[in-house]
């Protein structure tokens, strides 16, 4: 088509249309809404599903590859104040963080405190996989080291004595008087608490920021980030051993 001709036809049309429809502005006359539930009655789009499939297959293979073997069931419900799963998680956190932290800051981590509620699934006897780590620790929490004063560590032990829950700990031992909810015989690294010392406590960013009302972690003397997720610590540890084993060692117990 001759372009000049086309332009002139177009302009005739434009003039024509602007003349014939004196522009009336459009506006919303009605709104209707619906919340669509995405459930199993909806047929999957085959093309989309086949796009996802290779990723899913690869992911499942990676997640389900055996990294090590658990010699028993590890749960969080063994004892009122201590659990196999809790001891394992606290010990792994310390073991995996320690070398890098000490090299970077030339300081030693004194002890570990995680939370009971943060253990979201047991580790069952048999093959342990990355999926296990995702089930135990579905959150993205990172390990952090908070430097606490003597007073704050006293608050921390008072919190544990009051809660009387199997919050995971490592390198910390305490006896709790059940009735009075007091902590006695507190030992860190097998040493009694020292008033003139500050303590480096390994925990998660979630708890450090006040999660589970662990307010003693707020405003620490110094906060060291590790950029290391608790879940990744678990996965790295699972890869580094053949078997998972752990003992209940009365690190937190009732006073006799």
């Amino acid at each position: 088509m001759n372009s000049k001709f086309f332009i002139s036809v177009l302009s005739v049309l434009l003039i024509g249309s602007s003349y014939s429809c004196k522009q009336e502005s459009i506006s919303v006359s009605k709104i209707s809404t619906i919340q669509k539930k995405i459930d199993s009655t909806i047929v999957e789009d085959k093309a989309i599903d086949s796009f996802i499939k290779p990723f899913r297959t690869h992911l499942n293979k990676t997640l389900d590859a055996t990294l090590c073997v658990a010699i028993a069931d590890f749960t969080k419900n063994d004892n009122p104040l201590e659990s196999t799963l809790g001891n394992l998680m606290a010990d792994i956190s310390l073991k995996q963080t320690k070398p890098v932290f000490e090299k970077k800051y030339t300081k030693e981590i004194d002890f570990v405190l995680l939370n009971y509620g943060g253990m979201r699934a047991p580790i069952l006897k048999g093959p342990v996989t990355a999926r296990t780590a995702y089930q135990v620790m579905p959150f993205e929490n990172e390990l952090v080291v908070a430097e606490l004063s003597y007073e704050k560590v006293k608050e921390l032990t008072a919190y544990l004595a009051y809660a009387q829950r199997a919050h995971p700990i490592a390198n910390l031992k305490l006896s709790i008087v059940k009735a009075s909810k007091e902590a006695i015989e507190v030992k860190i690294n097998d040493q009694p608490l020292q008033e003139d010392k500050t303590y480096l406590v390994l925990t998660t960013d979630y708890l450090q920021q006040g999660g589970d009302r662990m307010d003693f972690f707020k405003n620490p003397i110094q906060l060291y980030k590790t950029n290391y997720k608790l879940r990744n610590a678990l996965i790295d540890y699972f890869k580094s051993v053949d078997t998972l084993q752990v003992e209940l060692d009365k690190r937190m117990k009732y006073a006799e």
Binding site: S29, Q35, K37, V43, E44, L63
Partner: protein
């Protein structure tokens, strides 16, 4: 600006006539009633497959392949459909940990999303992690209150974008939540946050008055409502303290509204707010019917949860 809109509409009709080879102008006498469909998701959190059947809250719901079918069905019913996401696309399943957001963006592109805004979790692999996935997204990101100057995203995220469907001008702007205290600074880096309500006032003015949009949509990741701190910036407060916004699509608080909420704005006009839980368990659909009558009727219906 008014003229430009008229011009675009006329170009559209003129082209249609040229294509048909006819010169009939009778159909142009009164504006044709039009319907714009807005589909939206929020906080999908890398939920590529449906949630497991033992999920505590939404057993077996969600999944991209199912959502794709529904979207296709809606588009066949009404080609004038736009598809939006209100942020927190990333984080929540191992798909994100292992593939870094690649699948999320590729799937959203395949589903032909038009626009998304940025949620706090979209910074979880750092602002560099977000940048590295952008080539996988055929849709754009809008955010009016994050200033990315001095970051790697500078120039890549616009405050708003205008979509045109059958001559209807739809202005969509984005809002994000305060990052300080929520996201590590080393992830969001030099991203500057400013007050969402002030920005919304400015954006709605630009879109309604300068750009002459027929429909103004706020794509928000600031949260629906904070019961314990009712004065916090939220979609409810945003709706009440602004004007010229027709629809607020929310996210962040994972709120599953049984049906969209309708609120009076600063000048007593109706604003629709909607949010659809999380993980893609629901998808919102809002149909706007346009005609020359000027009457606005809002009717809500929903499927019981």
């Amino acid at each position: 600006m008014q003229n430009r809109r008229v011009f675009i509409q006329q170009i559209a009709s003129a082209t249609a006539f040229a294509g048909l080879g006819g010169l009939s102008v009778t159909s142009c006498m009164t504006p044709k009633p039009k319907k714009i469909t807005v589909l939206h998701t929020n906080d999908v959190h890398s939920q590529i497959d449906p949630l497991p059947n033992n999920h505590y809250k939404y057993p077996g719901l969600g999944g991209f392949a199912r959502r794709a079918s529904i979207i296709e069905q809606v588009r066949q019913e009404n080609p004038n459909t736009i598809l939006l996401d209100a942020g927190d696309i990333f984080q929540g399943t191992p798909y994100f940990n292992y593939f870094g957001g690649e699948i999320e963006f590729k799937l959203m592109s395949k589903l032909n999303y038009d626009l998304a805004t940025i949620g706090n979790h979209d910074f979880d692999n750092g602002i560099d992690g977000l940048l590295s996935q952008l080539p996988n997204a055929t849709f754009d990101f809008v955010s009016a209150n994050y200033d990315f100057k001095n970051t790697v995203l500078e120039g890549l995220v616009k405050p708003y974008k205008i979509l045109i469907k059958e001559g209807v001008k739809i202005g969509v702007f984005g809002l994000g939540i305060k990052l300080d205290g929520l996201v590590s600074k080393n992830l969001y880096k030099e991203t500057q946050y400013s007050d969402p309500i002030e920005m919304a006032q400015e954006m709605s003015k630009v879109l309604k008055e300068e750009e002459q949009c027929d429909l103004v949509i706020c794509l928000s990741h600031i949260g629906y409502d904070y019961k314990n701190s009712p004065n916090n910036v939220s979609d409810l407060n945003l709706a009440k303290s602004t004007k010229n916004i027709d629809l607020i699509i929310g996210g962040h608080t994972h709120t599953l509204l049984p049906k969209p909420v309708i609120v009076d704005n600063l000048v007593g006009e109706k604003v629709v707010i909607n949010q659809c839980g999380k993980s893609g368990v629901y998808m919102g659909q809002i149909d706007f019917y346009f005609d020359a009558s000027g009457n606005k009727i809002i009717e809500g219906k929903s499927i019981a949860v």
